[in-house]
């Protein structure tokens, strides 16, 4: 970021008098704003798609009143959330009640920083990329827990406790299921992981088809990640038929909106991570976007990445509208007795594979057979 600031100062003579740290700070703010706007737009569009997909699947129509074909529904929703009265229950812990949504939102929003949207489109290519995502998303738990407790509502408290137990448990299989991709790329950086899946093998260069273990790893990750982001069938923290609405039952207005956004943000983070780690990120078969001019390459790769990520989101919604909900003990059993052992076995398998075959995947081996 500082390097960028220096180059900016050099390029624009007007900025010469401004101290470097101010330029850097400004740049940071601008980048953050861009990501925020992007995230909000995505989440708005995501909520619209969610409702449209739900409508189709449930043999009904979905929103179609605001704007052409209901396209502006998410704007209306957003405006409604902002304009709604912000209620705080009388006996709530006011400070924590106000604070909690921000934790949740920051947790999911901060993860966008390391998402590799394109060849060069990444806010900060941290070399601990995946680990960073795991770390910051854990902030969401705090927000949810505090929201549940500070609402002074027993249903909310139960929802908060469920959420915390669930997210903490499922962080292990999520991490374990992502490690195969890290092992193959030899780096924690998401951009490196995406690059490791390029090459001329096309779709078979993706980690998904690297070897059987990575194939299963993808599904394990997808399942565990759905649970970590509280999607149906793992939406116990907000199970509307049991806990009414769970931890956010007392929230209204923009505070509820922040929870809503963080949920969608989490969903998108899961989609991007699975895209980047298993589905080749912005890579398309038999074409290297890096060879295009900077702007076109980035635009092209951004489109590819978003298309893949959106497909993942759609699949998550599809699952969401198909399955019923697990019970709490079944959820925990699934985490500890199924997902955790399976991901460990899988990790062992991938490690052995990489050790035995010198890091080569099945497609690469087949390709090498043919020269």
């Amino acid at each position: 970021m500082e390097a960028l600031a220096i180059s900016l100062v050099n390029a624009v003579p007007l900025l010469a008098g401004v101290p470097l740290w101010a330029v850097t700070l400004l740049l940071m703010v601008v980048v953050a704003a861009v990501i925020l706007v992007f995230a909000l737009t995505f989440e708005g569009v995501g909520s619209l798609v969610l409702r449209k997909v739900a409508g189709d699947i449930q043999a009904r129509i979905g929103p179609n009143r605001v704007g052409p074909n209901g396209m502006l529904q998410f704007l209306a929703d957003g405006v409604k959330l902002v304009l709604k009265e912000d209620l705080i229950p009388a006996n709530a812990d006011r400070l924590l009640f106000k604070l909690a949504p921000y934790f949740a939102f920051v947790g999911s929003f901060a993860a966008f920083v390391v998402v590799p949207f394109g060849v060069g489109l990444i806010a900060a290519d941290l070399n601990i990329g995946i680990y960073y995502v795991m770390a910051v998303t854990s902030l969401v738990v705090i927000g949810v827990l505090l929201a549940g407790w500070s609402s002074n509502n027993k249903w909310a408290l139960l929802g908060g406790m469920r959420a915390a137990a669930q997210i903490v448990s499922y962080e292990i299989p999520v991490g374990m299921a992502l490690i195969p991709a890290v092992l193959i790329a030899g780096s924690l950086s998401l951009q490196d992981i995406v690059r490791s899946q390029s090459g001329l093998l096309g779709i078979f260069g993706w980690n998904l088809f690297h070897n059987p273990f990575t194939f299963f790893s993808f599904f394990l990750y997808f399942t565990a990640a759905q649970a970590e982001t509280n999607q149906t069938p793992f939406d116990l923290p907000e199970a509307e038929s049991e806990l009414v609405s769970g931890y956010n039952v007392e929230y209204s207005g923009i505070r509820f909106g922040l929870f809503f956004l963080s949920e969608f943000g989490d969903m998108f983070i899961v989609a991007t991570l699975s895209t980047a780690c298993f589905l080749g990120g912005w890579n398309v078969p038999f074409f290297n976007a890096g060879t295009l001019p900077w702007i076109w390459g980035n635009l092209f790769s951004l489109g590819v990445f978003l298309a893949k990520a959106f497909t993942m989101v759609l699949i998550m919604m599809w699952v969401r509208w198909t399955l019923p909900r697990l019970r709490v003990d079944q959820l925990m059993r699934m985490a500890w007795k199924y997902l955790v052992p399976l991901t460990f076995v899988n990790l062992l398998g991938v490690s052995l594979w990489l050790l035995v075959f010198k890091g080569k995947g099945i497609p690469a081996m087949i390709a090498s057979l043919f020269g």
Binding site: D56, N64, W318, V319, T322
Partner: protein, 249 residues
Amino acid sequence: MGLKAYMNDIVEAVVTTAKGMRITARYGVDPREEVTLQYPEERWEIPEGYRGFLHNDIKTCTACTMCVKTCPVDCISLESVRGADKRMVLASYDINIGRCMYCGLCVEVCPPKSLKHTSGYEMASVTRGELILHFIAEDAAEIKARVARQVAEAAAKAEAQAAAKAAEVPSSGTAEVAKAAEAAKAGAQAGPKAAEVPPSGTAEAAGAQASAKTAEVPLSGTKAPDVSSESAKAPVVEPKAAKEGENKE
């Protein structure tokens, strides 16, 4: 738990999930299955015999009060007076549509089949008083007074005729007839029906108000296609009646 059962569990979970997702996907991509009726624009075909709002054709109504007696929730109220030709004349016929439960019992018992269900089912009002449908625009008191007058006139006429017959004297003065009529009127006022008529000044004032308000209301006997529109045109809501309706609730 053996390894086999463990694996079976996983396989079963995956298979049943895939089965369900196949079905939801089929609905997701098949727009024919979307059954939503976009209500204000699209409407479903209302079958014959639909039990919508009640409508009484007051021209054929005989004021027999069968509907009032049959209604389990007392939503119909009716006032009538005996007319000059010995038939009952409706003074008011109100249906509290907010209380009606559309059971159709009143329609079944109606002897002249004047009470019918329409196909109307939409109505909105700000006050509950507006939910009372008044099928007779005129004020009840006014009608009663008028009928009483007619009865009296008829009586007077009959009397005059009788008197004319009795008196062989050729009619020399219409004044006498008028006198006789006046006397009959005075007698009628003392009668039970006329006694119900409130002091003429206030009654007339109220009647004038009501008629001024509802002068252009064509509460015809023709079947209204939609009662809501009809009632929108004809909110014969007297403040008094509205209040009464609210109080009843």
